[in-house]
């Protein structure tokens, strides 16, 4: 173990920053797997930022709250299915657990997708009709984000008799017991990690096919590339915008379920905030407006954050994320894969 600088002191307060290559080397594969798992979730959320930006040139800062609503959506779905919060894990058998998780994911997708479309109609469309400048959209997005958070914080508990929302995180409903499927050296891959990565990659692949192969996807790319010409060619801009929000919301809802598998006690009114910022960061890293860029950016960010934590100390997670972003943007100002949703095919 090589500890340089002032690290390794007896007092926590003394070790400001360490440089621990040994820790990174020993834990490399375990961190990579954890990072890919978390990065896959970033990636799904990042798609929502990137699609909306591609079509509207709008940073939808309320997207993190759409994700948060997705977490509540899947939680409520599980409650409707008859599950209640409990200390230990339900044992339903593999098949039924997958079915329940699938239904919960659909619930999360429905809530998040619906909320994203609703947000677009209530907050953004009226502004667009009046031709508001882009700064107004940005402020509206931030405002909408607060409104949704405080709704879940104060109003939702009153509407649901204290079952949902409020000050504390929801008491977890645990369907899956984490167990190691593959183990080697000091690395193990759990069933939860496999489920998250496989589901996230499948959904990401589906989104990619949808954008690149279908008629709707062509419409989205057309509007992103040149809204005026697209309109002249008979593409309805309003429809495409709504579709874009819907897809972003649905993927955020799916990500919400995967996230709660990993962090069962993360269902909280403010629980989307940090993850949303990271996903936005991932979108910019990969090239905002570019779907594959968002996926790549998410995975890269997830992995690099954990490497950085092992290397410099666990408190440096966010710093590592943003330093990485700045470094990449210095050399590639439009992100790793470039900016445009319309043009980028790589």
């Amino acid at each position: 173990m090589s500890v340089l600088a002032v690290a390794g002191g007896q007092l926590l307060a003394d070790s400001v920053i360490s440089f621990d290559l040994g820790s990174l080397a020993r834990n490399f594969w375990a961190l990579t797997i954890d990072g890919l798992t978390y990065g896959a979730i970033y990636a799904l959320v990042a798609v929502g930022y990137t699609l909306v930006y591609g079509v509207l040139r709008l940073i939808n800062f309320a997207h993190s709250e759409i994700f948060m609503l997705g977490m509540f959506g899947q939680y409520a779905t599980l409650m409707l299915l008859g599950f209640g919060p409990s200390g230990n894990v339900y044992s339903e058998g593999t098949m039924m657990t997958i079915v329940y998780l699938g239904i919960a994911m659909l619930g999360g997708m429905a809530v998040a997708g619906g909320a994203a479309v609703g947000l677009e109609r209530v907050a953004y469309r009226p502004l667009r009709k009046r031709g508001a400048p882009s700064l107004v959209f940005l402020i509206t997005a931030i405002g909408a984000s607060f409104v949704i958070q405080e709704f879940v914080h104060f109003v939702l508990p009153k509407l649901t008799g204290g079952t949902l929302g409020g000050v504390n995180a929801q008491q977890p409903i645990r369907l899956v017991q984490a167990s190691d499927v593959i183990s080697f050296a000091n690395t193990s891959i759990s069933n939860i990690e496999i489920v998250i990565v496989v589901s996230a990659l499948t959904l990401a692949f589906a989104a990619d096919v949808f954008i690149n192969r279908t008629k709707f996807g062509r419409g989205i790319r057309a509007v992103a590339q040149d809204p005026v010409t697209a309109t002249l060619m008979g593409v309805s801009r309003e429809r495409i915008i709504m579709l874009t929000f819907l897809i972003g919301g649905i993927l955020a809802g799916a990500a919400a379920l995967l996230y709660t598998l990993r962090v069962p006690s993360g269902i909280l009114y403010s629980g989307g905030f940090i993850l949303g910022i990271k996903a936005f960061c991932a979108a910019v890293l990969g090239g905002i407006g570019n779907l594959r860029g968002a996926l790549l950016g998410g995975l890269l960010l997830g992995v690099m954050e954990l490497y950085g934590q092992a290397l410099f100390g666990t408190e440096w997670r966010d710093v590592v994320a943003f330093v990485l972003l700045i470094l990449v943007l210095m050399f590639r100002p439009t992100g790793i894969l470039g900016e445009s949703l319309g043009r980028a095919r790589a």
């Binding site: 299915l81 666990t314 408190e315």
Partner: protein, 409 residues
Amino acid sequence: MRRSTPRLAGLAIVVSAGLVLAGCSSKSAGGETTASGSATAAGALAITPLVQVDASGKEVKSSGSSAAATPAGKGGAKCSAVSIAMAGALTGANAALGINILDGLTLAVDEHNAANPDCQVTVKQFDTEGDPQKATQVAPQIVSDTSVIGLLGPAFSGETKATGPIFNQADLLSLTASATNPGLTKNGWSNFFRGLGNDNSQGGAIASYLKDTLGYKKVCVVADDSDYGIGLAEVVTQTLGSVADSACAAKVKTGDKDFSATVQIIKDAAPDAVYYGGYYAEAAPLLSQLRSGGVTAAFASGDGSNDPEFVKQAGDSSKDAYLTCPCGPAPDAFATAYKAKFNIAPGVYSVEAYDLGTIILAGIDSGITTRSDLVKFVAGYDGVGLAKSYKWDSTGELASASTWVYQVK
């Protein structure tokens, strides 16, 4: 172009409605299967008192609290337009602690008011959300409210540190039931008193307990980024000495929910125990992730995690976790009265808030009408409360402080 928009909106609604229906229609089937194969009773785990220890980890026999002072006093006290301020997190992620304190104080004041019809004291609550920045905005409001004779709070160490000079300048009694950062009494604030042991006593006690009583050889100390968590972890690390492994000492952020790297580093170190300095909002997910990551080491944390919410969030993972608190368990009579009034069992610091409220009320009943007289009254106070006996030294620390070790069982 306009015409087609509602059609797509309709489509979206139909699609989402269909998804919801898909969920609902399977509900009954799901309900049946879960009824048979469902999890066992959830509320089985609870935080139970284990042992009371002194700063060196040795057991202290608890002194009976039969002679405790009551808020009712002798009755027939006279006063007018007096209020006690309470400042702390009443909303936000760590509001449970603030509400425990507010309820404990409210109970004391209500008992007092019932017995003293000519001295109706009111409680004024000031929500700081536990945030030092918010607290500095709230503090001047407390000072400028002339009916406020004394303050119970602030609740957290960070906000106490930030607002201390404001209250000190106004010579307003600042009697905290929960801020345990040791540095707070080293500022020369003559108006500041701590109604419980500080992190030095709490941290030292649990560290000695882990090292000497339980005989652990390797402990990873994790801290959050709050004044409270950092201070506590520092004392624990110091007391543990060579038992604390600096290679797996980690820091996390308040608000974090994912601790992948921290878990992996701890797993790599394979310690006997993990100590966490911080609050339950992070302690619970950290512990669940440690357990699902395959770390079986014992888990210990301080009063910030000592809350039923910790057990709720961490579920079965919280089993056998050690939680310390300078606060004592609630006596039965108090618990019954508290439960009857607030429909919830007393939480951490409820008893202390009640005791400290009683002391302020005793001051008011003795005819004190100015803020500075109340500060003098508390400085010279010597009496027994429900939790312990209260007598302060010149810095505002309790003359003798003990720590309770609780375990989730």
